[in-house]
């Protein structure tokens, strides 16, 4: 059985990733960074100073994604 995770890309990250939401298969040793880099070459670098959130909590790009349902790429925010 394969593990799947929903990847969300917002704002400028949407352009880099080419989607706003996608269901993705992940490998047992995937980190947030390795996962998105497999979807788009150098995605992590190209997303600049974006942060990552796992299940709606800010996390580190080096954190493993195993056990999470959602990975969100969070470019610098600009609400208001």
């Amino acid at each position: 059985m394969k593990n799947k995770i929903t990847v969300l890309a917002f704002s400028t990250a949407k352009q880099v990733m080419g989607f706003s939401q996608q269901m993705v298969e992940c490998r047992p040793d995937d980190t947030a960074e390795s996962l998105i880099n497999r979807l788009v070459p150098q995605a992590r670098q190209r997303c600049g100073s974006a942060r990552v959130a796992l299940d709606e909590e800010f996390a580190e790009w080096s954190d493993p994604v195993a056990g999470h349902q959602e990975l969100a790429i969070i470019p610098p925010v600009s609400g208001g």
């Binding site: 969300l8 917002f10 704002s11 959130a53 709606e56 909590e57 800010f58 969100a72 969070i74 470019p75 925010v77 600009s78 609400g79 208001g80």
Partner: protein, 126 residues
């Protein structure tokens, strides 16, 4: 503390609410889309958000701030989607016993929102 957080694609209607008996200060803030962005005239801004994560972050920030600035109520409404020039993108209302708490809470909430709450604006080219 009573906290209401909303994200809505509709024009923001400023809520009319009677303050509680021990409330002495109400501070309201409206963020409005200006007619120019980086010196260029614009027609609208587009806002997107991760609403459920944004709500969680706002609740965290709110409970941190409430420890220092004791407030009775917060209403937070952020519009998403296209917001035309002159319309409200963000509405905040903070009710407190004293004005220092209400102003402090309101300003710090906006500062923290602009650091950590997953909401983004882009200039609308439509």
């Amino acid at each position: 503390m009573q906290v209401d957080i909303h994200f809505s694609p509709h024009k923001i209607q400023v809520p009319e609410i009677r303050a509680g008996r021990e409330c002495g200060a109400v501070v309201e803030f409206q963020g409005i889309v200006r007619g120019t962005e980086d010196g260029e005239p614009i027609r609208a801004l587009d806002y997107e958000a991760h609403p459920s994560m944004a709500e969680k972050e706002l609740l965290k920030i709110t409970s941190e701030l409430a420890a220092k600035h004791f407030c009775d109520r917060l209403i937070f409404i952020h519009r998403v989607g296209e917001v035309p020039v002159g319309e409200i993108s963000l509405y905040l209302r903070v009710d407190a016993r004293h004005r220092a708490e209400a102003f402090g809470f309101c300003q710090k909430l906006i500062d923290r929102m602009k650091q950590d709450v997953p909401i983004w604006k882009t200039t609308s080219n439509k």
